[in-house]
Amino acid sequence: MLSATLYRIRKDLAKKLWVPILALIAFAFAIFMIWTGSMASEDSDVVRNLELSIGAINVITILVFDFIFMSGLNSGAVGFSTADVNFHMAGPFTPKFNLILASGGIAKLCALFLWVLCCQSTTLSLMFGFNAKDLIALILGNMLTMCLGYAAGSFLCAFFNDNEDAVRKVKIGFYAVNVIFVAVSFALLYKSHGSIDAIKALGIKGIISGIGSATPAKFFPFAGWINLIYTGIAYKNSFYLIVGIVVTLALIATIVALYLKCDVDYYESAMASAQKLADLKEAKRAGVDTDTAKVNEKVKVGRETLTKGWGASVFTYRHFLENSRASKLFFINYLGILYRIISFGYGMMMDKVIGMDSPEATIVAVMVMMIMLNGVVYGGGKTILEFNRPYIFMIPEKASKKLMACLSASVPEILFDSVLCGAMVMYFGHMGIAVGICTAVMMVVFDFLFQLVGLLSLRIFKSLGRTLLIMLRTLLGYGLILVSFIPALIVSLVSGGVSIAVIFAVAAAVGAVITGILMIFAKDLIDKVEFV
């Protein structure tokens, strides 16, 4: 059974040689990031605080456990494809073995999350004073927590397959554990500091340190138990170490025993969800992107309808109509708003971490986050989705006219989004309107740059497959934006420092030139791209 599955995986990998190569590069990069991260803590003036480090590790691991356990509980039986249903469920494999197969899907998510965590090593080191040992403990602890957390969640999902009440009770229990943990942790913090104001005065780091290193965190299911091992090592406390090892081993043994001994019947829901997955794949083949399909799930027909546009311009009005249906206002992109909220949250965090003394550093951090997220939103925008349907190719208008009609449909949402970006930079940097305007103009330019890179990637990278295409177009977009900043940085270095507004204005000007060049290349793209 296992050998047949391994054979299939081996064959799959042989067909996609770039996957193991990319994985190796990613792994090497992660190691490099951990190394540079640990260097950062040694070089910086951050004083190592063991309580803060342990506290931060615990808090991060608890959050990761919450996410992964719920993923398993909500979709434990969902990680199956129709091929799995046809070959594995109908084949001579036990339900328990097949359940393990489903974890393959979540393993990719775990690997990606851990890689992102590794890439954040420097930030974590600067924020919490992590050294190399802390970083390794964080990665290993999270890896184990994710594996066990998902295994437990998906087992419960399968075990209570046809009993919604039981699943609801498990969820209530899960929320209760979290609420109790937060309540008791804050109560203890209050008890030791005496007032809310004293807790506020601790700042984010102090609160994380207080909550993460307190006793409730050590009792927190999975995450706290597993982290006891490192707590024991760090504090040279053999009691914590032994208890941590024993409890973790017991946890592993319990989950293995559950999988081996309990009867699980989840095939029906697995088949239904495999069908859903197959439908989504087919929709994607027909041009409906999965993310878009999710966003479109709740869209309803309103009073508005298609009443404008003639020839190519009907593309613009159709996009407006679709936007209005998705978000009530034609200039609002839901995904863009979500990413702006994330950027704002990140900005708040960086503002606290970096401090009020260096607003420029906060601006840079927020700007990097906003640009990275916009690379995702606009690099894969609606114009690109047009290329998944035959209409844009077939409608009897000039290729450049059709392309411009599609691109111009994104102008209102780009303008709105860029104004938000400008306002955020003004807020976090405590800067004037000039910086806000320069930021907004720069973001408009970069958003169009991302769109054009995405479009040109269809021509250049389409044969490489969807995943590589998305990866390469994103990297290419980021690369060109870095290039846009080079002249501004040179000017800044030569002149001994210029204002942020000037840097952004120069970057916008260079970005506009690059965007213009891309536009020339993309002009007749519709005639050159294939609809396969």
């Binding site: 869209v299 298609l306 009897p396």
Partner: protein, 235 residues
Amino acid sequence: MLTVTNVTKKYKNFLANDNVSFSINDGEVGVLLGPNGAGKSTIIKSINGLLRYSGTIEINGIDNRSIEAKRQIGYVPEIPALYDTLTVAEHLEFIRRAYKVEDVKRADELLERFELLDKKKKMGKELSKGMQQKVSLCCALVHDPSVVIFDEPMVGLDPHAIKELKLLFSELKAEGKTVLISTHMIDTVEDYWDVANIMMGGRIAATKHNHSENSDEKSLDELFFEITEGTTKEA
């Protein structure tokens, strides 16, 4: 009239269409027959200007990639590609406006014909596969094209819609339009085809005309199985 001359299409090292040539006159129904992977969809996409290829394809004597030729083509793709959040009526309105068609009644006539009037306000995502196929058919016809190309049009349709579609083929033929149907189901086209091109391995393996007076000739069925079972023959 549709003329395909020496069209070759390669995907990396795979030759999907190898020097394909055929033509269909006005008022004729041409069929492209062949097993899965024979290259039917590739040539159909090339005719619609969706792929790059070497060779020549002309619609009424005009290069198929020109704007004028595009105006004259109607295409029903194999997999309906509707917009999720556009209603059935809006799909037709989108195509009408895009093709600059002044006649606003035609859309409703098509919807009525394919029993979609009561689904006018349903969104693309809410339709079954068969319904989506019907909308796709209406979209291909709303601008009254002179060359209509169908890629596996019967898939997913209910018996009534199949009957209506067959009637439509006959009407298009009577109106002097050029019709090309790609299928691997011979029995669905046996009543109204004029010229059949049987594809195999990316090539036209045989061409057969329906009005042949030679009674000794093999039937389309016989010819198809002879070719697909290994022997290439000109009919």
